[in-house]
């Protein structure tokens, strides 16, 4: 700043803040970088320093344990091998049987979710080594591809069509429960949906072979009344 | 400044023409696809007349009001119409959907085939759409369940995949 007219004009403010300048002059600015670096190193050292950290893999729970994330509360109850389960909406080819997981599920989101659509149970519950499940049906009244209302728990059966020889009674399955992220569309699209399933926990379940399916007779009885339940197959997530 | 404008006169004019043209051509093509992919061009036939489309003769069409049988479950304020359409195909088989009935006046409401709700009102062994692989002349008989306050004349619109974007519109008067 050039001395002269300007200094005169700003004389009063300058004097008023003179103490501030004097104080700031005494701050050892030159050491800032050094102090900062030391601080960062000390603090990070407390969390294990700069050593490579292994990304946390899926945890492990047991069958019957509840797993909760932002979207669902899920409890895998048992795994069943059965000759056929057409009431659950699964059709088989020659030499195939049905592998079914009985799961207690609750929708923790604020919108209804359909079990079979994207973001539904077929993405949330998978089996290691098998493709995505084929169908979902309620256990109580055999409603196929049920909607899950917020906060209303329901027991469902999730099914896979598998080769008859692939699994046997007593085999242990690795069931994977996946976390999904809420995606809110913007710009030219709209609505919210759950996408990108990422394995969160795994659990081991032993398969129970129930043969022709005497075990599910109760569910069969309920089915007749509900065979005509409406199910609109329009697009998925809430608008 | 004026020197710059003059020096770049050609590119400037080209930009002024090409930029809007780009939008017009792309947008126009999209709209053209939209309108040519659905029934947008009616070929209207007056009552008792027919219209020729793709070599097929559509019409004439007639409409009659039916008295429902005593045991028919119908809303109190409804009437049942039966529309009969003569169709004479060319050499090739013709396909179409069940025709819909439109009000030509007022609210211009639309009704679809009522062959489910008033199944007794269709013709015995007749179709409410084009029969499969029909090469001989045939008759479409389609019932409509319509509120009593709907008044003719009506238009019967026939939609067919092979006909789009044109479609026969047969005017009928009860």
């Amino acid at each position: 700043m050039a001395p002269g007219t300007e200094e005169q004009a700003h004389d009063a403010p300058e004097r008023r803040f003179a103490w501030l300048r004097a104080a700031s002059d005494r701050v050892p600015t030159r050491w800032f970088a050094g102090i900062g670096t030391v601080l960062v190193l000390v603090v990070t050292a407390g969390f294990g320093g700069l050593a490579a950290v292994e990304a946390p893999g899926p945890g492990e729970i047991e069958a019957g344990d509840e797993y909760r994330n932002d979207q669902y509360a899920l409890t895998v109850e048992r795994a069943v091998l059965i000759d056929e389960l057409s009431d659950a909406g699964i059709s088989l080819e020659e030499g195939q049987r049905v592998l079914a997981l009985v799961v207690e599920a609750e929708n923790l989101w604020s919108e209804p979710l359909r079990a079979t659509l994207g973001g539904g149970l077929l993405d949330a519950v998978t089996i290691d080594g098998l493709p995505r499940g084929t169908s979902v049906a309620r256990v109580d009244d055999a409603t196929y591809a049920p909607w899950m209302q917020p906060g209303v728990p329901l027991e469902v059966v999730i099914t896979w069509a598998v080769d008859a020889e692939e699994f046997a009674d007593g085999d242990r399955l690795t069931v994977v429960l996946n976390d999904q992220s809420l995606y809110t569309a913007s710009f030219v699209s709209a609505g919210s949906s759950w996408t990108d399933p990422v394995p969160a926990v795994t659990l081991a379940v032993a398969i129970e072979d129930v043969g022709a399916g005497a075990d599910t007779e109760e569910a069969d009885d309920a089915t007749a009344a509900d065979a005509t339940a409406p199910a609109d197959d329009t697009e998925g997530a809430a608008g | 400044m004026s020197g710059w404008w003059r020096r770049n006169a050609v590119p400037l004019v080209a930009t002024a023409v090409l930029l809007p043209a780009t939008f017009l051509i792309i947008g126009g093509s999209e709209w053209n696809d939209y309108f040519s992919g659905r029934p947008t061009q009616p070929m209207t036939a007056r009552p008792g007349e027919s219209v020729e489309l793709n070599g097929v003769t559509w019409g004439p069409a007639s409409i009659e009001q039916l008295d429902p049988p005593a045991d028919a479950e119908l809303p109190a304020d409804a009437v049942v119409y039966r529309v009969t359409i003569e169709v004479r195909p060319a050499e090739e088989a013709v396909t179409c959907l069940p025709p819909s009935l439109h009000e030509l006046q007022g609210a211009q409401r639309e009704w679809g085939s009522g062959s489910y709700e008033v199944d007794w009102a269709g013709g015995a062994d007749s179709w409410d759409s084009c029969p499969i692989d029909a090469t001989e002349p045939f008759t479409i008989v389609v019932p409509y369940l319509v509120p009593a306050d709907a008044v003719g004349p009506f238009a019967v619109d026939i939609e067919g995949v092979d006909l789009i974007p044109a479609f026969p519109r047969l005017v009928v008067e009860p």
Partner: protein
């Protein structure tokens, strides 16, 4: 400083404040992005016919039930049963009763597809009303809580498409706390209604 300069400065300051206030008003009244595609809401009353672009609804009765029965089917829970007359107004080809929603707080429930004779999802007729019932399954305890804690306003909404943006949406507000209540409700069978 002359008087004129001083008053000019005051004027400037005032104008500045005015502009800030104006900017605040503009920000406050600017509709959200969602507003440009919001549905056209038609507010309806119990027993009163409400008409939108291609939907007309008369809600005749809203009743709470602990057990819902529909012919052979039966389920316990916190059910809200809505009896209504519904028709399409302009066209009926491909027009279904596709949207029936109950909004309670931040949660939205969809009419249950479980009762076999619900009219939710069924085709509509132009100018001829279908009468029937739909049912909402709410989390256990919701209705008791509403009765004890006082007003629990739920907004029912109806439309002909799951895509409700920029189309008519019929809305009806009910208080779950003072709702008529029955232990068992038999779902009203579908029939022709009064247009």
């Amino acid at each position: 400083m002359t008087g004129r300069a001083r008053s000019a400065r005051w004027l400037l300051a005032l104008a500045g404040c005015g502009l800030v206030a104006l900017a605040w008003v503009v920000m406050a009244v600017t509709p959200s992005d969602d507003a440009t595609e919001a549905p056209f809401v038609v507010v309806s009353q119990l027993g009163e016919r409400a008409e939108g672009r291609n939907i007309a609804v008369t809600v005749d009765r809203v009743v709470a039930a602990e057990t819902l029965r529909d012919q052979g089917w039966e389920a316990d829970g916190d059910w809200v049963v809505v009896e209504l007359d519904i028709e399409s107004v302009r066209s009926e080809s491909g027009v279904l009763f596709s949207w029936a929603s109950l909004q309670l707080g931040d949660r939205r429930y969809q009419a249950s597809e479980r009762p076999p004779n619900t009219i939710f999802g069924l085709p509509l007729s132009t100018g001829l009303a279908r009468a029937g019932a739909i049912a909402f399954e709410l989390p256990e305890g919701t209705l008791d809580e509403a009765r004890v804690d006082g007003p629990a306003e739920a907004v029912l909404s109806f439309a002909v498409d799951r895509e409700i943006r920029l189309d008519s949406l019929i809305e009806l507000t009910v208080d779950l706390g003072t709702l008529e209540s029955e232990a068992t409700v038999e779902l009203a069978p579908e029939a022709w209604g009064d247009s």
